[in-house]
Amino acid sequence: MDDIASNGMVTAYDAASDRLKAGPRGAKPRRRLSRRNIIVYGTLIVVSLYYLLPLYVMIVTSLKGMPEIRVGNIFAPPLEITFEPWVKAWAEACTGLNCDGLSRGFWNSVRITVPSVIISIAVASVNGYALANWRFKGADLFFTILIVGAFIPYQVMIYPIVIVLREMGVYGTLTGLVIVHTIFGMPILTLLFRNYFAGLPEELFKAARVDGAGFWTIYFRIMLPMSLPIFVVAMILQVTGIWNDFLFGVVFTRPEYYPMTVQLNNIVNSVQGVKEYNVNMAATILTGLVPLTVYFVSGRLFVRGIAAGAVKG
């Protein structure tokens, strides 16, 4: 009796474990069109439409000729697609006496952004590394001052900076503007790097010191290879910030060095002649293209960097 009962148990048990080993069976349960999903996706769709609509209007308008625009239906797709406004925006639009379009501003912006981004990130990452790992005397005070600096309104500092740049002999030059961008990027970037480096295991730093590595060896051979994600974040911040800057570009440079944003403003706000909406739209999109590309390209890199960092070595 006992045997039979236990045998029965065993078979039942075997059947159950076979069933478990075989894994799940049948069709994958479908995600239902629940009320929650409808609300979530509905909201997302409405919000994205709200943000995409202006972009749509801009693109559509930039592809129309002026006669078509005068008809007044801004949402209608172009009947006759023309790239004329884009060419004009890039190469022919006039600001004051110059009639070489946005291209000059574009190259100015490149010449401002590239060195500013590289220098500010290089300096700030070393700052952050020193603050996080080499706790020198007064490190906390230094850091506090740096952070407080970030809260002083730009307007207060403009005139003093003009004087400083004039005394240095770089007022009105691209060099001067690069210096200003580098300095203004310091607080937030240093904070960013300091926090990231402080989050890395301290024992790695200690091990490297026992191994005899000095300040720069540890920075370049231990810290840098582990910090790709934060460098990408810093780059995104700086490229978009500096590319979109208007105030410093106007104040600290001469017209021939105006960055793209200032050039765009001058094209759009020029009061002579007819308002060429299609050219203005094309010029605006062209100006926004760089930060947009940075987001799209490095955004993916950024996520990959985060994912790689998550699987800790």
């Binding site: 024992e203 200690k206 010191r209 026992v210 191994d211 005899g212 590595a213 070595g313």
Partner: protein, 360 residues
């Protein structure tokens, strides 16, 4: 010959004193364990010896050379960390050779040393792998290898086994002991695990709040703890303590605890016990005998809980109004509720002064 010597070492973090005038001499080839619970300053002391923390006052000598203000790399030390601290972007081989490359050691010499370390630690098949592809035990082997290739006389271990599971821990423990026996260099080992301390050490320094409580070989620490803290810290389950008063009767000494009188005439006291003196009697669970035939001074107690552990059996009882534990060798069973007769071997007990907490 002294290998590492710490003189009057003090360290303050702001207003907090972590180490206070600490002295320690470690002989050449000695395995010294710094033992204590977290926050007692043991890791801090090790970091000071390594040169990773600047001391506030005092000196550190390694091989009779004052290294107090020298860089870690110039002190002739190798260090192994709790979290392994392997460089994640480098292969095992590069992890081992990094320090040598920084020191500009010739490549042939680097290869030789890496090969030797890999052989000793049996990690040759792992040399081309990244740390993320290794198990915890393998990582810690590589970390030990990194200290090994430096060809130094002093090894510093900062809780090297704490991140490993129990089985690996005991395996690597044996391996570290074997390593010490074959290399014969000085090792300073920080841990909070008393088993590691007792099994590995030539001498143990038990630390509490930045002060060394007792510095002695493991058996002395176990048998004759210098004070109440050391007595309670070493041993698992910990020593049974009975707070009472010394009483002299008919030429014999007793410790009276809550109506129960323990005959402590056999206790080898350093200073004579004074009648009326407030003391703490400490008896290890393994030094209590149960139902011993012919034991003169026996006390009745009832078993509350029984914890059979295979090789031995742990009983929790109530005596003199307090809970105590007894470790029985073998598999003698006493179900809860049974009454037993306990006798104490006072020759191996400890008695502490209740006020100064020092051994009497």
């Amino acid at each position: 010959m002294t290998s590492v010597s710490v003189r009057d070492l003090s360290l303050n973090f702001g207003a907090v004193t972590v180490l206070d005038k600490l002295n320690l001499d470690i002989d050449h080839g000695e395995f010294l364990v710094l033992l204590g619970s977290s926050g007692c300053g043991k890791s801090t002391l090790l970091n000071c010896i390594a040169g990773l923390l600047d001391v506030s006052d005092g000196q550190i000598f390694i091989h009779d050379r004052n290294v107090t203000w020298e860089e870690p790399k110039d002190r002739g030390i190798g260090m192994v960390f709790q979290s392994y601290a392997l460089y994640p972007q480098m292969t095992v081989e590069r992890n081992l050779s990094f320090g040598l490359q920084v020191a500009k050691v010739p490549q042939a010499e680097i290869d030789k040393r890496v090969k030797r370390a890999a052989e000793i630690l049996q990690i040759q098949p792992l040399l081309k792998r990244k740390p993320s592809e290794l198990s915890g035990g393998q990582r810690q082997r590589v970390a030990i290898g990194r200290a090994l290739v430096r060809d130094v006389d002093v090894f510093l271990f900062d809780e090297p086994l704490s991140n490993l599971d129990a089985k690996l821990r005991s395996e690597l423990r044996v391996e570290i002991k074997r390593l010490h026996q074959s290399l014969k260099n000085t090792m300073i080992y920080v841990t909070h695990d008393q088993i590691e301390a007792l099994t590995l050490a030539d001498r143990i320094a038990v630390m509490k709040s930045g002060v060394i409580q007792q510095l002695a070989d493991p058996m002395t620490i176990y048998n004759a703890p210098e004070n109440l803290f050391v007595a309670g810290f070493i041993g698992s389950p910990s020593m049974n303590f009975f707070r009472g008063e010394v009483e002299a009767r008919e030429g014999r000494n007793f410790v009276r605890v809550d109506g129960v009188a323990f005959d402590v005439s056999a206790y080898p006291a350093r200073t004579k016990l004074q009648p009326g003196q407030k003391v703490v009697l400490g008896v290890r669970p393994e030094h209590v005998k149960v139902d011993e035939p012919g034991a003169g001074d026996a006390h009745q107690a009832m078993v509350d809980i029984e914890e059979p552990m295979g090789a031995d059996n742990l009983l929790w009882l109530t005596l003199a109004g307090q809970s105590m534990s007894v470790r029985l060798a073998g598999q003698r069973r006493y179900p809860p509720g049974s009454t037993v007769r306990l006798s104490f071997d006072m020759g191996v007990a400890s008695i502490f002064d209740a006020d100064s907490e020092k051994r009497l």
